[in-house]
């Protein structure tokens, strides 16, 4: 019997029509759209940003390799987690902290839960929240944009648990300026990304372009970003109309990590709801929490916590928005 003979009749279970998309393919596509954002970050912050992102990615990959199931490195999700985490960090963060964040995100955000598809919280954001809790000063030391390409933006190569030397020019982020000093920032600067902040906070246009590409390919669900951005616009417009001292919607939209978080983190298919109605609810919840934390909270930026909080609510949202089984009666009675 030779195995090369094609059977005359193929009997298989459904589905019969399959798309070419697989998890690795989607993941590497997403990773490819992160490259322009990394390039933009390097343009603004120099070689430091490449080092920080590389360190975070290395931490994530090493942890996935060491503790994950075999062969999960190639699906690209650990690489995306590392790159996204790197993009949420300031350019001057010591490299060991970035690597530790990546390791925490993958280890406690994904591997412990049983690997890809099982985690409830976004691993990159969990790593970021861990770093924020562990090194609150280092992670809010924002180097200024510009300067020479090869100039390091901080004590990147500090040894673990030593005190990094503050040898970079730093300045507050637009949100920090507004919250603690009451100063605004020009909107052109915000859109172009010529402000201090996390690596991936600055290039709003590049992130939007990547998001539109991914939505067009069907790799992210457009309902979530649409719900987040619409909610932020409407809610902050109301707040701005009531009290003119509050930031206007455009500022809210283009400052901080809103674009990166909305396009790449809130839409994580593992940690967002599975129903379309649920996605609208989820996005609206993120939008409301972002505005609430930014305006009334103690922290200048709240995108990370807003998404993590809504991640926790996803099992609830899924339960509450379960579609009706075809043929059953409205109201739950059978």
């Amino acid at each position: 019997m030779s195995a090369a003979v094609a059977p005359a009749l193929v009997v298989t279970a459904s589905p019969h029509v399959r798309s070419q998309d697989s998890t690795p393919r989607i993941m590497w596509n997403v990773a490819a759209t992160l490259v322009p954002i990394i390039v933009a970050a390097t343009w603004f912050f120099g070689v430091s940003s490449l080092l920080v992102i590389a360190a975070a990615t290395a931490g994530a990959l090493a942890t996935e390799r060491a503790f994950g199931r075999g062969g999960t490195l190639a699906d690209g999700s650990a690489a995306i987690t590392g790159m996204l985490l790197g993009l949420t960090l300031p350019a001057g963060l010591s490299l060991w902290m970035a690597a530790l964040g990546g390791a925490f995100g993958i280890g406690f955000g994904k591997v412990v839960w049983g690997g890809l598809g099982q985690n409830v919280f976004n691993p990159a954001l969990l790593g970021r929240a861990f770093l924020q809790a562990a090194f609150p000063v280092a992670i809010t030391t924002w180097p200024t944009v510009g300067g020479r390409f090869w100039t390091l933006k901080g004590d990147l190569f500090a040894l673990p648990f030593t005190h990094p030397l503050p040898d970079a020019i730093t300045s507050a982020t637009p949100l920090g300026l507004l919250k603690f000093e009451g100063k605004g920032t020009a909107i052109e600067q915000l859109i172009l990304g010529n402000t201090s902040g996390s690596l991936g906070e600055t290039a709003a246009l590049v992130i939007l372009a990547g998001g539109i590409y991914l939505a067009w390919r069907g790799y992210l669900n457009w309902r979530i970003p649409a719900a987040v951005l619409l909610t932020v616009i409407v809610f902050s417009a109301i707040v701005h109309a009531v009290d003119a001292h509050r930031p206007d919607p455009l500022f809210m939209l283009f400052s901080g990590g809103l674009m990166l978080g909305t396009v790449y983190m809130a839409t994580d298919p593992v940690t967002s709801p599975v129903t379309n109605r649920g996605r609208w609810v989820f996005g609206a919840g993120v939008g409301v929490l972002v505005v609430v934390i930014r305006i009334w909270g103690g922290l200048p930026e709240g995108v990370m916590y807003a998404i993590l909080f809504m991640n926790a609510l996803v099992p609830f949202i899924n339960r509450a928005t379960q579609p009706r089984l075809f043929g059953t009666r409205l109201g739950g009675a059978t």
């Binding site: 049983g114 409830v120 919280f121 861990f130 909270g297």
Partner: protein
């Protein structure tokens, strides 16, 4: 009025008893395997909290002024009686829930969140109305934390968790993740 609203939001989210102040953790880990049990225990807790708030206020106002050193003893007696009352009511009207909760129902007595409420209420000099709002906020905060934990645990029930993290390991990771998510509310209300 805004003061009352602030007390409510503060105890519900910003200073959530379970996830921010780490009070009442034993039932948080013990009874959160199923969501139906979890939120009902939360409501039972809320009821005990309400009774405690009323009696703590009565004791503080009319009795304990002369003997403040009896405060903790008096509060524990009040809490224990309130729990007895709840236990009788649940056994009579919700026998299924009574069996599901098992030991955790009488253990509400030793839930530090409840003694914590009485002591906070005393040290912050809340009036009766403020104390009631405080108790409702704390109780709903407990219910929220218990339900969130239970819904996540139900979701990962079929997950292929590594052996080292089975049972309590992953539950502790979930608790810390939830706690980190609640850090976003830190400092709310203190901003200009």
């Amino acid at each position: 009025m805004s003061n009352l609203a602030w007390i409510f939001v503060s105890t519900l989210l910003v200073n959530n008893f379970t996830l921010v102040m780490f009070l009442g953790l034993c039932s948080f880990f013990g009874v959160t395997a199923k969501i139906e049990t979890a939120w009902r225990l939360g409501l039972a807790n809320t009821f005990v909290l309400l009774l405690t708030a009323i009696f703590a206020w009565l004791l503080n106002t009319f009795v304990l002024g002369a003997a403040p050193y009896l405060r903790i003893v008096a509060f524990i007696v009040v809490i224990a009686s309130a729990v007895q009352f709840v236990e009788m009511a649940v056994r009579k009207y919700l026998p299924v829930l009574f069996r599901q909760l098992g030991i955790y129902l009488p253990l509400i007595t030793t839930n530090c969140a409840i003694l914590g409420l009485a002591l906070f209420q005393t040290s912050r000099h809340y009036t009766l109305i403020e104390g009631l709002v405080f108790a409702i906020g704390a109780g709903l905060g407990l219910t929220l934390a218990l339900s969130l934990m239970a819904s996540i645990r139900e979701r990962i029930e079929v997950a292929d968790v590594p052996r080292i993290a089975r049972r309590m390991g992953l539950v502790l990771v979930i608790a810390s993740s939830l706690s980190m998510a609640f850090m976003g509310f830190a400092g709310m209300g203190s901003a200009p």
